[in-house]
């Protein structure tokens, strides 16, 4: 029906998350004709994340972050081991911050706006249905009845890699390699956030809570302070959740929100957002190949996420890989084309040599450990029991050794297995 001449671009980027938006921005800055496609309304409406971004790689890519939508610089961290209405907290405070809290949608919109100003064409509310393949090479995309062609396609579709699956480039995700994240944003006033959490203006905090908050399942809960709201949520390893979860995940988040020791911080706030999303839990999610003829894979789609249990880095890695992809387009053009070999030399190899990539695969062992259910149940119970024996005193004041012994009994954990767990933990992390 439509006799339109199909449009042509130098590059098409699928997905306006941090990875795709960065690739589009950097390509537009280099003068390429680039099309950025997003299925959601506006940039960032479909993305979910916990709440904090590490700044170093962003500075390298975007320069200073003066006009970036930064909510608070994280200067206080805590790991909490929760067992019912008792918890043990290990805190880290610093005057020097390397990460900030933000809404991912705002950060992504900020990048997309820059990309559009640099000349990228951004089209939202359009879902790409498939990558267009001719003679074994990716030559463009299909969306509904429309096709658009380009020299190279950058796949930034995120963790749900339907396009790559459809092409047979990756398999469906295994439950062992992904986790389910859910989160609520609770609105307070800026003053309330600052005062209640003992912060100063512009300062933020990040908490990780493990133990009873996830029904002792592998994973953890998180709390981040935004400018005038708090993000509260949890991440559950999918295989463990499938096996062990008794309540609906949503109920776990509600329980966390109403937790007797924590609700004082946000209990009177309004829940203004609820969201759920998959996230990556293992380096095994990384596809065998990150390039194909005419195709570069970036961000979550490329499995570039590192979650250590204490920290999560996905957004800055996404930005970094989007940046590398734009460099690679330049490089491939000079090297004579967008074949798999050239793209491999221009993108995949530099990426695999980067500290980012090496850090991700180095954590293979840790990511196994993070699935150890005893860590999330027995070790937490042990620590909380030991602390309560030490701090909750009646007539007697037990010695430390006695407290530990009692905790061992309560957690049904031997000294040996505890020591082993500790060693593995230290080596893994």
């Amino acid at each position: 029906m439509e006799m339109n001449q199909p449009s042509r671009f130098d590059a098409i980027v699928v997905g306006a998350g941090p990875a795709g938006a960065t690739a589009a921005l950097k390509l537009a800055e280099k003068g390429y004709k680039v099309l950025l496609l997003e299925r959601g309304r506006g940039a960032g409406s479909k993305q979910v994340f916990g709440g904090r971004v590490y700044a170093e790689l962003l500075r390298r890519v975007f320069g200073d972050l003066k006009d970036a939508p930064i909510h608070r610089w994280v200067k206080r961290e805590a790991l909490m081991l929760a067992d019912g209405d008792r918890l043990v907290a290990v805190a880290y405070w610093t005057a020097n911050s390397t990460s900030f809290t933000t809404y991912l949608g705002q950060l992504t919109s900020w990048i997309v706006e820059r990309a559009v100003n640099a000349g990228a064409v951004f089209v939202d509310e359009v879902r790409v249905d498939r990558l267009l393949v001719r003679d074994g090479r990716v030559v463009g995309i299909e969306a509904g009845p429309d096709r658009v062609e380009a020299d190279v396609v950058i796949d930034a579709e995120g963790v749900n890699r339907l396009l790559l699956e459809r092409l047979g480039l990756v398999a469906k995700p295994k439950p062992a390699h992904v986790a389910l994240g859910v989160k609520e944003v609770i609105r307070l006033s800026e003053k309330a956030v600052t005062e209640r959490f003992g912060l100063e203006d512009g300062e933020g905090l990040a908490w990780v809570i493990v133990g009873s908050v996830t029904d002792y399942l592998p994973g953890g809960a998180f709390v981040y302070t935004n400018k005038d709201s708090v993000s509260v949520g949890l991440v559950l390893h999918l295989d463990a959740a499938v096996r062990g979860l008794r309540a609906h995940v949503h109920e776990l988040v509600e329980r966390l929100r109403l937790h007797p020791l924590l609700r004082r911080y946000w209990g009177d706030g309004d829940v203004v957002e609820y969201s759920a999303h998959l996230t990556i839990e293992s380096p095994e999610f990384i596809p065998k190949s990150l390039v194909h003829d005419g195709l570069i894979v970036v961000g979550d789609a490329a499995g570039l996420l590192l979650s250590t249990g204490l920290t999560v880095r996905g957004v800055d890695y996404a930005v970094f890989s989007g940046f590398l992809a734009a460099e690679a387009v330049d490089c491939a053009r000079k090297e004579g084309g967008f074949t798999r070999d050239v793209l491999s030399a221009c993108y995949e190899q530099p990426l695999r040599r980067s500290a980012v990539y090496r850090d991700i695969v180095r954590r293979k062992r840790a990511s196994k450990l993070m699935k150890d259910e005893r860590l999330f149940r027995d070790a937490v119970r042990f620590a909380v029991k030991a602390a309560s024996t030490i701090y909750e005193l009646g007539e007697e004041t037990p010695k430390l050794a006695e407290a530990l012994e009692e905790a061992e009994r309560a957690a049904r954990l031997s000294k040996l297995s505890l020591a082993l767990m500790l060693i593995r933990l230290v080596r893994g992390l």
């Binding site: 339109n4 449009s7 064409v121 951004f122 089209v123 509310e125 509904g144």
Partner: protein, 266 residues
């Protein structure tokens, strides 16, 4: 061939707007605007007519510049041309001043067969604009229209649905109609159309230099409406009663409760 003009309003997404019970005002801050959903019925009907008879669909909206996004959305659905009427002097308009500007802008478009509006807007629900535009242009007006069944020879047959009956009107063209809400299934946007909207057929922007309207008749100055008082419905706390057990018993229990509350009269 038909030439159809569609009126579009750019509104705050009221589903995302929250209400501040202390001050009685809407918290609009940070709330993204959208095309008034009921206007998409009008767009869909216009596109159907164009697909059937050939011709052109022109979307028109008086709004701040951010509404370009909304007009790009309807261009993405397949509208042929989109015009944003935007000027500081138009700001603060009530429905009279708005309809005056719209009617004059539509006059500039030359001949047309139909002007289609949505039933009402989600942010004010007055449904004034279509009737007022019809008055300014001295055209027949039918509202709650479900479909245009016939069109040609300077006439159209439109069907409208009321609560207890369906009515058919034969009207002379040009005419103004307003669609019944949810009477159409608005089509999704298409990549090629949206691309065209971003590259070739950009939204045209008309300010008052283009329209040349008397400033006393537009914007705040042209708006005789005076809001003397706003009251709001107090929030009624929910009773949070739950009945567990046999569904039959539940029905009895529910009826009992509703009677106690005076919701059921007997």
């Amino acid at each position: 061939m038909v030439r159809v003009v569609v009126g579009i309003k750019w509104v705050p997404n009221t589903q995302a707007v929250r209400f501040d019970p202390k001050t009685g005002t809407l918290i609009r801050e940070g709330v993204p605007s959208i095309v008034n959903p009921h206007d998409l019925d009008a767009v869909e009907l216009a596109l159907k007519l164009r697909d059937r008879y050939g011709g052109e669909v022109i979307a028109i909206s008086m709004a701040p510049p951010s509404a370009i996004k909304g007009l790009e959305h309807v261009l993405g659905m397949g509208v042929d041309r989109a015009i944003l009427i935007s000027d500081r002097v138009f700001a603060g308009a009530d429905t009279l001043a708005t309809s005056y500007v719209l009617a004059n802008a539509i006059r500039r478009l030359g001949s047309f067969d139909l002007i289609i509006f949505g039933q009402e807007t989600i942010d004010s629900s007055t449904a004034h604009i279509p009737a007022q535009v019809a008055s300014w242009l001295d055209l027949p007006y039918v509202y709650y229209v479900e479909d245009v069944e016939e069109l040609g020879g300077g006439r159209a047959v439109v069907r409208r649905r009321l609560e207890d009956r369906i009515e058919w009107y034969e009207i002379e063209l040009p005419a103004v109609i307003a669609t019944a809400m949810h009477s159409q299934q608005p089509r999704p946007v298409r990549l090629s159309y949206k691309l065209r909207a971003k590259t070739e057929r950009r939204v045209e922007v008309w300010d008052n230099k283009v329209l040349g309207l008397d400033e006393r008749c537009v914007g705040l100055r042209g708006s005789p409406t005076v809001v003397t008082k706003v009251t709001w419905m107090p929030e009624v706390p929910r009773k949070r009663q739950v009945f567990r057990g046999d569904p039959r018993e539940a029905v009895k229990w529910l009826i009992e409760k509703l009677r106690e509350e005076g919701v059921l009269p007997y």
